[in-house]
Symmetry: C2
Subunit: 403 residues, 2 copies
Amino acid sequence: TINEERLFRMLSKSSETGAIPQNGLRRLALSDKDQEMRNIYKDWCKEAGLTLRVDDLGNMYARREGKQDLLPVVLGSHLDTQPEGGRFDGVLGVLLALEVVQTLNDNGIETERPLEIVNFTNEEGARFEPPMLGSGAIAGVFDQEYVYSRKDAEGYSFLEELERIGYKGKEENRLSDFHSFLELHIEQGPILEDENIQIGVVEGVQGISWLEVTLTGEADHAGPTPMHLRKDALMAAAEIMNQLEKEIATTDVTVTVGKISVSPNSVNCVPGEAHFTVDIRSTNDDLRKEALKETKNTIRRVSEDRDVGEEMKELWETEKIDFDRSITEVIENSAIELGYSSKRMLSGAGHDAKYVHNLGPTAMIFVPSVNGKSHVPSELTLDKDIVSGANTLYQTVLTLSNE
Amino acid sequence: TINEERLFRMLSKSSETGAIPQNGLRRLALSDKDQEMRNIYKDWCKEAGLTLRVDDLGNMYARREGKQDLLPVVLGSHLDTQPEGGRFDGVLGVLLALEVVQTLNDNGIETERPLEIVNFTNEEGARFEPPMLGSGAIAGVFDQEYVYSRKDAEGYSFLEELERIGYKGKEENRLSDFHSFLELHIEQGPILEDENIQIGVVEGVQGISWLEVTLTGEADHAGPTPMHLRKDALMAAAEIMNQLEKEIATTDVTVTVGKISVSPNSVNCVPGEAHFTVDIRSTNDDLRKEALKETKNTIRRVSEDRDVGEEMKELWETEKIDFDRSITEVIENSAIELGYSSKRMLSGAGHDAKYVHNLGPTAMIFVPSVNGKSHVPSELTLDKDIVSGANTLYQTVLTLSNE
Ligand SMILES: NC(=O)NCCC(=O)O
Ligand SMILES: NC(=O)NCCC(=O)O
């Protein structure tokens, strides 16, 4: 089993790098804090005897050779966080992978297959939209030019920032053929905790659609402009949001408006413009697509009724996927062998594994999230659950790397 | 009559200072651009032979002596603008006053009473809330400490910025006793244009209430968090905005949500916090107060239903006022004498004159706004209407200053 003391030392170092109040982390992709964490992580990889390479997207690969020249077993996740995120989302998948390799070192175990650990760039999509740009690019979902040209809210591009922090490597370093890919992650939802289960065996990821909406009414002075003469972009947005919540969201489809801004944004100005985003998810692609269509219709209808202009842009779409059955079986058997309770389940969040799945056999391991919370400072996974996750990952790697 | 060429030269210089696309102005109170405009204006005042003094709030007074040592006739408005404002709001009242004085100079006219022109600080309230801080302070509505401690969105205080731009003068320089106060302003509403009238004789200003609202729900990941487990602060705000528009706004009461922001403001995060403002106005104080009460009840009810916390702060309140009848009569007679059509009306917007009215006899002159627009770059008053306004102001000043 893994070395808990070393593991929690690494985790606590990560929790200091970009720390914000209430135990949170703000480590946006390609920021100074991301750079600092990458440098620390790079040193750890070297100390563990791993060989590091970086690809053209800033994805970092740390390799441990196997006894044979076979396709590697690849483990990993991401070290970037949300603007007001937690300490575990992504981080756990990278650091537990490193702990697994160090435990192999401690035990003098040579695996048949090589092992690689990946830290993917900009999984969160919080700084550069959409999410999973690093894994999506190697999976052929986004081309290099698209990724490089993504801009953050201040106008800095992915490429500029990648070069600035010194993590632009070579395209030939990208992940290519592998035997299997494994991502351990926090559940980010309430199910495992509710059912008191230690290990989630993740069989797939639900589909996601992102829409960016701009409504253009007419800015006006709040004082002398009577209600019936207004074209208030925010009131139009409010009506739309209400209808999305009441008429389109269901128990099978979530609808979230996560970002909003208005212009001119002054107390005594009727908003002339409103911008907002819509995130739609379902484990059923048909339901999701239907909800997206209805969302667009609602936006059109309300805008027309109010004589307000609308512009909609589909920012992102991923289909529901099913992970590799033989890997999920190995994960499940590992948990059983170790005496942990486990459950097959789907992921509500997108993950790098979702895109890596395009390239080869892939699956994920979930550990419980206290109160189902994530993307918030209070995000928490208990120490004992982290240890169960690490041991399950270790056991699964042992099996896969000797296949 | 006034010198059109000189007047439009001054106006076009002002329109360059803080210019933004589409003929707009961004000249926020106590910003670099405000400083630049103040310096230009100061030079113009000196060229016109006026004596300048600045008070502790940055209000600028330019004085022309009269034949006798009597109480002065005071004219003025403000040179600051909204973040995406127009070229006329406030500016016209200051520059037309200066043109009136220059015309007196040209004609070698000495008035019995002294004249003073005021440029009030932070009328808009767009950078430092609430509006009319400079005029409100001299009228005893706000104390110096309150004004000094107002902060902009970046955390800079009124006092810091006042000192930085070099316009902190002495408390003893404040406007005190005067014979009459006159503010010429654009209407900012559609009435004069609709009825094809040249001069608005402003008999009063409607009452205003500002409320600042914070809703505190729970931030969550948009993916794995089912709808029924959410405490979405933005969806609560949307329901509230809808109800304000449908149930509280009427033909007699306007309700405006001009500012909104959410946190964490990430596409895949359920908003844990929402902040917004409510601006409520009516010419009937009872109706306004009733609407404010109902607004608060709505916010409380919706928040309770959704198990979301609410915090409300009354940012600003001004009662409806009636201007001085003898001055409005002089304005009306001046318009008639000059052959301009005129109409008695109320102001929908707050103005410095509203607070100056606390100190002595006050009234306002309105000129038409094209499409009733203001607080937007497309704000426009036609040259011919500016000239009618300037002549009416000149005529009114001649009468009042020789009373
Ligand atoms: N795991 C995670 O939070 N990924 C971000 C992509 C998403 O929004 O699901
Ligand atoms: N005139 C003007 O726009 N004043 C700002 C105060 C208000 O909101 O009415």
